[in-house]
Symmetry: C2
Subunit: 187 residues, 2 copies
Protein backbone atom coordinates (compact mmCIF):
# COMPACT_ATOMS: atom_id res chain seq x y z
CA UNK A 1 0.00 0.00 0.00
CA UNK A 2 1.43 3.32 -1.05
CA UNK A 3 1.64 5.86 1.77
CA UNK A 4 2.23 9.37 0.52
CA UNK A 5 3.78 12.26 2.34
CA UNK A 6 0.37 13.73 3.11
CA UNK A 7 -0.81 10.59 4.91
CA UNK A 8 2.38 10.59 6.97
CA UNK A 9 1.92 14.22 7.99
CA UNK A 10 -1.70 13.64 8.89
CA UNK A 11 -0.78 10.65 11.05
CA UNK A 12 1.98 12.69 12.72
CA UNK A 13 -0.44 15.51 13.44
CA UNK A 14 -2.92 13.09 15.04
CA UNK A 15 -0.26 11.44 17.20
CA UNK A 16 1.39 14.68 18.32
CA UNK A 17 -1.93 16.27 19.09
CA UNK A 18 -2.78 13.44 21.50
CA UNK A 19 0.76 13.35 22.92
CA UNK A 20 3.06 16.21 21.90
CA UNK A 21 6.05 14.34 23.32
CA UNK A 22 5.39 11.23 21.19
CA UNK A 23 8.57 9.73 19.69
CA UNK A 24 9.11 9.26 15.94
CA UNK A 25 8.48 5.52 16.37
CA UNK A 26 4.90 6.29 17.46
CA UNK A 27 4.44 8.49 14.37
CA UNK A 28 5.74 5.67 12.10
CA UNK A 29 3.43 3.18 13.78
CA UNK A 30 0.39 5.43 13.38
CA UNK A 31 1.24 5.94 9.70
CA UNK A 32 1.63 2.18 9.27
CA UNK A 33 5.20 2.45 8.01
CA UNK A 34 8.67 1.57 9.30
CA UNK A 35 10.96 4.13 10.92
CA UNK A 36 13.22 3.86 7.87
CA UNK A 37 10.33 4.76 5.56
CA UNK A 38 9.33 7.62 7.88
CA UNK A 39 12.85 9.00 7.59
CA UNK A 40 12.57 9.01 3.81
CA UNK A 41 9.60 11.36 4.22
CA UNK A 42 10.97 13.59 7.00
CA UNK A 43 14.62 13.70 7.93
CA UNK A 44 14.20 14.63 11.61
CA UNK A 45 11.68 15.26 14.34
CA UNK A 46 12.44 18.95 14.05
CA UNK A 47 11.74 19.13 10.32
CA UNK A 48 8.49 17.22 10.91
CA UNK A 49 7.43 19.77 13.54
CA UNK A 50 8.37 22.69 11.30
CA UNK A 51 6.32 21.21 8.46
CA UNK A 52 3.29 20.75 10.73
CA UNK A 53 3.79 24.28 12.04
CA UNK A 54 3.79 25.52 8.44
CA UNK A 55 0.53 23.69 7.79
CA UNK A 56 -1.09 25.23 10.87
CA UNK A 57 -0.07 28.68 9.60
CA UNK A 58 -1.44 27.79 6.14
CA UNK A 59 -4.75 27.06 7.82
CA UNK A 60 -4.65 30.33 9.78
CA UNK A 61 -3.94 32.20 6.52
CA UNK A 62 -6.87 30.49 4.81
CA UNK A 63 -9.21 31.52 7.65
CA UNK A 64 -8.12 35.15 7.21
CA UNK A 65 -8.58 34.87 3.44
CA UNK A 66 -12.01 33.26 3.89
CA UNK A 67 -13.41 36.16 5.89
CA UNK A 68 -11.59 38.57 3.54
CA UNK A 69 -10.07 40.53 6.38
CA UNK A 70 -8.77 43.51 4.40
CA UNK A 71 -12.01 44.14 2.47
CA UNK A 72 -14.06 43.87 5.66
CA UNK A 73 -11.79 46.22 7.54
CA UNK A 74 -12.13 48.81 4.76
CA UNK A 75 -15.91 48.51 4.79
CA UNK A 76 -16.16 49.17 8.57
CA UNK A 77 -19.75 47.98 9.12
CA UNK A 78 -20.12 46.92 12.80
CA UNK A 79 -22.49 44.01 12.07
CA UNK A 80 -20.27 42.46 9.40
CA UNK A 81 -17.13 43.03 11.48
CA UNK A 82 -18.72 41.28 14.43
CA UNK A 83 -19.94 38.40 12.24
CA UNK A 84 -16.47 38.03 10.71
CA UNK A 85 -14.85 37.98 14.15
CA UNK A 86 -17.22 35.22 15.20
CA UNK A 87 -16.59 33.21 12.02
CA UNK A 88 -12.86 33.62 12.43
CA UNK A 89 -12.75 32.57 16.08
CA UNK A 90 -15.04 29.58 15.53
CA UNK A 91 -12.85 28.55 12.59
CA UNK A 92 -9.74 28.82 14.77
CA UNK A 93 -11.39 26.62 17.41
CA UNK A 94 -12.09 23.99 14.75
CA UNK A 95 -8.49 24.17 13.58
CA UNK A 96 -7.13 23.99 17.12
CA UNK A 97 -8.67 20.55 17.36
CA UNK A 98 -6.43 19.36 14.52
CA UNK A 99 -3.40 21.60 15.09
CA UNK A 100 -3.65 22.11 18.84
CA UNK A 101 -0.18 20.93 19.79
CA UNK A 102 1.36 23.38 17.31
CA UNK A 103 -0.02 26.30 19.36
CA UNK A 104 2.48 25.70 22.15
CA UNK A 105 5.16 23.48 20.60
CA UNK A 106 8.57 24.87 21.53
CA UNK A 107 10.28 23.90 18.26
CA UNK A 108 7.56 25.62 16.28
CA UNK A 109 7.54 28.72 18.51
CA UNK A 110 11.32 29.03 18.21
CA UNK A 111 11.63 28.56 14.43
CA UNK A 112 12.65 31.90 12.90
CA UNK A 113 10.74 31.46 9.62
CA UNK A 114 7.57 30.39 11.38
CA UNK A 115 7.90 33.24 13.87
CA UNK A 116 8.22 35.74 11.02
CA UNK A 117 5.18 34.34 9.23
CA UNK A 118 3.23 34.27 12.52
CA UNK A 119 3.97 37.97 12.96
CA UNK A 120 2.76 38.71 9.42
CA UNK A 121 -0.51 36.80 9.96
CA UNK A 122 -0.99 38.43 13.38
CA UNK A 123 -0.57 41.74 11.56
CA UNK A 124 -3.37 40.89 9.11
CA UNK A 125 -5.57 39.80 11.99
CA UNK A 126 -4.82 43.06 13.78
CA UNK A 127 -6.21 44.99 10.78
CA UNK A 128 -9.56 43.36 11.51
CA UNK A 129 -9.29 43.96 15.27
CA UNK A 130 -8.43 47.62 14.71
CA UNK A 131 -11.43 48.06 12.40
CA UNK A 132 -13.61 46.35 15.03
CA UNK A 133 -12.29 48.73 17.66
CA UNK A 134 -13.05 51.75 15.46
CA UNK A 135 -16.53 50.39 14.72
CA UNK A 136 -17.30 49.98 18.44
CA UNK A 137 -17.35 46.16 18.33
CA UNK A 138 -14.21 45.64 20.42
CA UNK A 139 -13.12 47.63 23.47
CA UNK A 140 -10.75 50.48 22.68
CA UNK A 141 -9.27 50.58 26.20
CA UNK A 142 -7.41 47.32 25.50
CA UNK A 143 -4.24 47.60 23.41
CA UNK A 144 -4.65 46.27 19.87
CA UNK A 145 -1.64 44.00 20.34
CA UNK A 146 -3.27 42.25 23.29
CA UNK A 147 -6.39 41.17 21.38
CA UNK A 148 -4.72 38.50 19.25
CA UNK A 149 -2.99 37.12 22.34
CA UNK A 150 -6.30 36.87 24.19
CA UNK A 151 -7.75 34.88 21.27
CA UNK A 152 -4.65 32.68 21.20
CA UNK A 153 -4.81 32.02 24.95
CA UNK A 154 -8.44 30.96 24.81
CA UNK A 155 -7.62 28.61 21.92
CA UNK A 156 -4.90 26.99 24.04
CA UNK A 157 -7.47 26.74 26.85
CA UNK A 158 -10.05 25.19 24.52
CA UNK A 159 -7.63 22.65 23.19
CA UNK A 160 -6.48 21.65 26.68
CA UNK A 161 -10.04 21.52 28.10
CA UNK A 162 -11.11 19.18 25.29
CA UNK A 163 -7.93 17.09 25.46
CA UNK A 164 -8.32 16.30 29.16
CA UNK A 165 -12.07 15.79 28.81
CA UNK A 166 -13.34 18.76 30.87
CA UNK A 167 -15.38 20.25 28.03
CA UNK A 168 -17.18 18.64 25.11
CA UNK A 169 -15.78 19.39 21.66
CA UNK A 170 -19.18 20.57 20.45
CA UNK A 171 -19.42 23.18 23.25
CA UNK A 172 -15.97 24.66 23.05
CA UNK A 173 -16.52 27.08 20.14
CA UNK A 174 -19.32 28.81 22.00
CA UNK A 175 -17.32 28.86 25.25
CA UNK A 176 -14.32 30.51 23.61
CA UNK A 177 -16.37 33.07 21.71
CA UNK A 178 -18.58 33.97 24.63
CA UNK A 179 -15.70 34.18 27.13
CA UNK A 180 -13.69 36.26 24.67
CA UNK A 181 -16.38 38.79 23.87
CA UNK A 182 -18.27 39.13 27.15
CA UNK A 183 -15.96 37.62 29.78
CA UNK A 184 -16.73 35.09 32.50
CA UNK A 185 -17.90 37.68 35.07
CA UNK A 186 -21.49 38.79 35.44
CA UNK A 187 -22.33 42.10 33.70
CA UNK B 1 31.86 29.76 45.28
CA UNK B 2 29.34 27.29 46.58
CA UNK B 3 26.28 26.91 44.34
CA UNK B 4 23.42 25.20 46.04
CA UNK B 5 20.57 23.28 44.48
CA UNK B 6 18.24 26.24 44.84
CA UNK B 7 20.53 28.55 42.84
CA UNK B 8 20.72 25.92 40.10
CA UNK B 9 16.95 25.57 39.92
CA UNK B 10 16.48 29.31 39.83
CA UNK B 11 18.98 29.63 36.99
CA UNK B 12 17.27 26.78 35.10
CA UNK B 13 13.90 28.47 35.52
CA UNK B 14 15.27 31.74 34.16
CA UNK B 15 16.90 30.08 31.16
CA UNK B 16 13.93 27.85 30.27
CA UNK B 17 11.51 30.72 30.65
CA UNK B 18 13.42 32.72 28.04
CA UNK B 19 13.97 29.67 25.80
CA UNK B 20 12.01 26.53 26.76
CA UNK B 21 14.11 24.46 24.34
CA UNK B 22 17.41 25.54 25.94
CA UNK B 23 19.89 22.66 26.36
CA UNK B 24 21.34 21.58 29.71
CA UNK B 25 24.62 23.25 28.75
CA UNK B 26 22.85 26.63 28.71
CA UNK B 27 21.43 25.90 32.16
CA UNK B 28 24.90 25.01 33.49
CA UNK B 29 26.35 28.18 31.97
CA UNK B 30 23.64 30.37 33.52
CA UNK B 31 24.23 28.75 36.91
CA UNK B 32 27.98 29.33 36.53
CA UNK B 33 28.80 25.63 36.92
CA UNK B 34 30.09 22.84 34.69
CA UNK B 35 27.80 20.28 33.09
CA UNK B 36 29.28 17.64 35.41
CA UNK B 37 28.34 19.70 38.46
CA UNK B 38 24.87 20.31 37.02
CA UNK B 39 24.43 16.55 36.71
CA UNK B 40 25.26 16.11 40.37
CA UNK B 41 22.28 18.37 41.14
CA UNK B 42 19.79 16.99 38.59
CA UNK B 43 20.28 13.67 36.85
CA UNK B 44 18.42 14.51 33.62
CA UNK B 45 16.63 17.24 31.74
CA UNK B 46 13.37 15.47 32.50
CA UNK B 47 13.93 15.40 36.26
CA UNK B 48 14.87 19.09 36.13
CA UNK B 49 11.60 19.90 34.35
CA UNK B 50 9.59 17.81 36.79
CA UNK B 51 11.21 19.61 39.70
CA UNK B 52 10.43 23.02 38.19
CA UNK B 53 6.87 21.85 37.48
CA UNK B 54 6.58 20.85 41.14
CA UNK B 55 7.74 24.30 42.19
CA UNK B 56 5.19 25.98 39.94
CA UNK B 57 2.45 23.86 41.54
CA UNK B 58 3.82 24.75 45.01
CA UNK B 59 3.38 28.38 44.06
CA UNK B 60 -0.17 27.77 42.79
CA UNK B 61 -0.99 26.00 46.06
CA UNK B 62 0.39 28.91 48.07
CA UNK B 63 -1.78 31.36 46.11
CA UNK B 64 -4.87 29.29 46.94
CA UNK B 65 -3.80 29.10 50.61
CA UNK B 66 -3.14 32.84 50.71
CA UNK B 67 -6.66 33.75 49.67
CA UNK B 68 -7.97 30.95 51.93
CA UNK B 69 -10.19 29.52 49.21
CA UNK B 70 -12.25 27.13 51.34
CA UNK B 71 -13.08 29.67 54.06
CA UNK B 72 -14.05 32.28 51.48
CA UNK B 73 -16.23 29.84 49.56
CA UNK B 74 -18.07 28.96 52.77
CA UNK B 75 -18.62 32.63 53.59
CA UNK B 76 -20.22 33.36 50.18
CA UNK B 77 -20.02 37.17 50.29
CA UNK B 78 -19.98 38.51 46.69
CA UNK B 79 -17.58 41.38 47.40
CA UNK B 80 -14.98 39.20 49.13
CA UNK B 81 -15.32 36.48 46.48
CA UNK B 82 -14.71 39.01 43.75
CA UNK B 83 -11.76 40.53 45.60
CA UNK B 84 -10.28 37.05 46.15
CA UNK B 85 -10.67 36.18 42.47
CA UNK B 86 -8.84 39.36 41.53
CA UNK B 87 -6.06 38.71 44.04
CA UNK B 88 -5.72 35.14 42.83
CA UNK B 89 -5.56 36.00 39.13
CA UNK B 90 -3.11 38.87 39.65
CA UNK B 91 -0.97 36.51 41.74
CA UNK B 92 -1.04 33.93 38.96
CA UNK B 93 0.03 36.56 36.44
CA UNK B 94 3.01 37.44 38.67
CA UNK B 95 3.91 33.76 38.95
CA UNK B 96 3.55 33.19 35.21
CA UNK B 97 6.40 35.60 34.73
CA UNK B 98 8.69 33.26 36.67
CA UNK B 99 7.11 29.91 35.81
CA UNK B 100 5.67 30.71 32.40
CA UNK B 101 7.32 27.94 30.42
CA UNK B 102 5.95 25.35 32.87
CA UNK B 103 2.39 26.26 31.79
CA UNK B 104 2.83 24.56 28.44
CA UNK B 105 5.90 22.35 28.85
CA UNK B 106 5.11 18.92 27.41
CA UNK B 107 7.20 16.97 29.91
CA UNK B 108 5.44 18.70 32.79
CA UNK B 109 1.97 18.30 31.25
CA UNK B 110 2.59 14.58 30.67
CA UNK B 111 4.01 13.71 34.12
CA UNK B 112 1.45 11.56 35.96
CA UNK B 113 2.21 12.89 39.46
CA UNK B 114 2.12 16.52 38.33
CA UNK B 115 -1.12 15.90 36.41
CA UNK B 116 -2.71 14.40 39.51
CA UNK B 117 -1.63 17.30 41.67
CA UNK B 118 -2.80 19.78 39.01
CA UNK B 119 -6.24 18.17 39.09
CA UNK B 120 -6.36 18.47 42.89
CA UNK B 121 -5.40 22.16 42.81
CA UNK B 122 -7.87 22.82 39.97
CA UNK B 123 -10.47 21.20 42.22
CA UNK B 124 -9.68 23.62 45.07
CA UNK B 125 -9.84 26.53 42.65
CA UNK B 126 -13.19 25.26 41.36
CA UNK B 127 -14.59 25.50 44.91
CA UNK B 128 -13.98 29.24 44.71
CA UNK B 129 -15.37 29.53 41.18
CA UNK B 130 -18.50 27.62 42.20
CA UNK B 131 -19.05 29.91 45.18
CA UNK B 132 -18.54 32.92 42.90
CA UNK B 133 -21.13 31.52 40.49
CA UNK B 134 -23.63 31.02 43.35
CA UNK B 135 -22.94 34.54 44.63
CA UNK B 136 -23.60 36.05 41.19
CA UNK B 137 -19.99 37.13 40.61
CA UNK B 138 -19.29 34.69 37.77
CA UNK B 139 -21.66 33.68 34.97
CA UNK B 140 -23.63 30.53 35.68
CA UNK B 141 -24.25 29.76 32.00
CA UNK B 142 -20.61 28.75 31.60
CA UNK B 143 -19.65 25.30 32.90
CA UNK B 144 -17.63 25.39 36.12
CA UNK B 145 -14.93 23.23 34.53
CA UNK B 146 -14.35 25.79 31.79
CA UNK B 147 -13.57 28.68 34.15
CA UNK B 148 -10.16 27.40 35.29
CA UNK B 149 -9.22 26.72 31.68
CA UNK B 150 -10.15 30.27 30.67
CA UNK B 151 -7.89 31.63 33.42
CA UNK B 152 -5.11 29.26 32.32
CA UNK B 153 -5.42 30.30 28.67
CA UNK B 154 -5.18 33.99 29.48
CA UNK B 155 -2.08 33.31 31.60
CA UNK B 156 -0.47 31.55 28.63
CA UNK B 157 -1.46 34.57 26.52
CA UNK B 158 -0.01 36.99 29.07
CA UNK B 159 3.23 35.13 29.27
CA UNK B 160 3.60 34.96 25.50
CA UNK B 161 2.60 38.62 24.98
CA UNK B 162 5.24 39.75 27.47
CA UNK B 163 7.87 37.32 26.16
CA UNK B 164 7.65 38.60 22.59
CA UNK B 165 7.38 42.21 23.73
CA UNK B 166 3.82 43.01 22.61
CA UNK B 167 2.63 44.01 26.08
CA UNK B 168 4.46 45.61 29.00
CA UNK B 169 4.88 43.43 32.09
CA UNK B 170 3.30 46.12 34.27
CA UNK B 171 0.12 46.17 32.15
CA UNK B 172 -0.47 42.47 31.80
CA UNK B 173 -2.19 41.79 35.14
CA UNK B 174 -4.89 44.33 34.36
CA UNK B 175 -5.27 43.03 30.80
CA UNK B 176 -5.78 39.44 31.95
CA UNK B 177 -8.20 40.34 34.72
CA UNK B 178 -10.23 42.75 32.64
CA UNK B 179 -10.40 40.42 29.61
CA UNK B 180 -11.32 37.50 31.83
CA UNK B 181 -14.12 39.22 33.72
CA UNK B 182 -15.63 41.52 31.11
CA UNK B 183 -14.33 40.23 27.77
CA UNK B 184 -12.77 42.15 24.89
CA UNK B 185 -16.09 43.03 23.21
CA UNK B 186 -18.01 46.20 23.94
CA UNK B 187 -20.93 45.77 26.40
Amino acid sequence: MATDRDDVLRAAQRVLNADPAAPMSAVAEAAGISRATLHRHVDSRESLLVELGTRSLDRWERRLDDVDVEALAAEAAPASLRAALETLVLGYVDDSDAFGFALTDQVILANAELVERTQALAGREAVLFAAAQRAGVLRTDLPLRWLGHAVYGLLVAAREAVRIGDVARRDVGHLVLSSLLTGVGTP
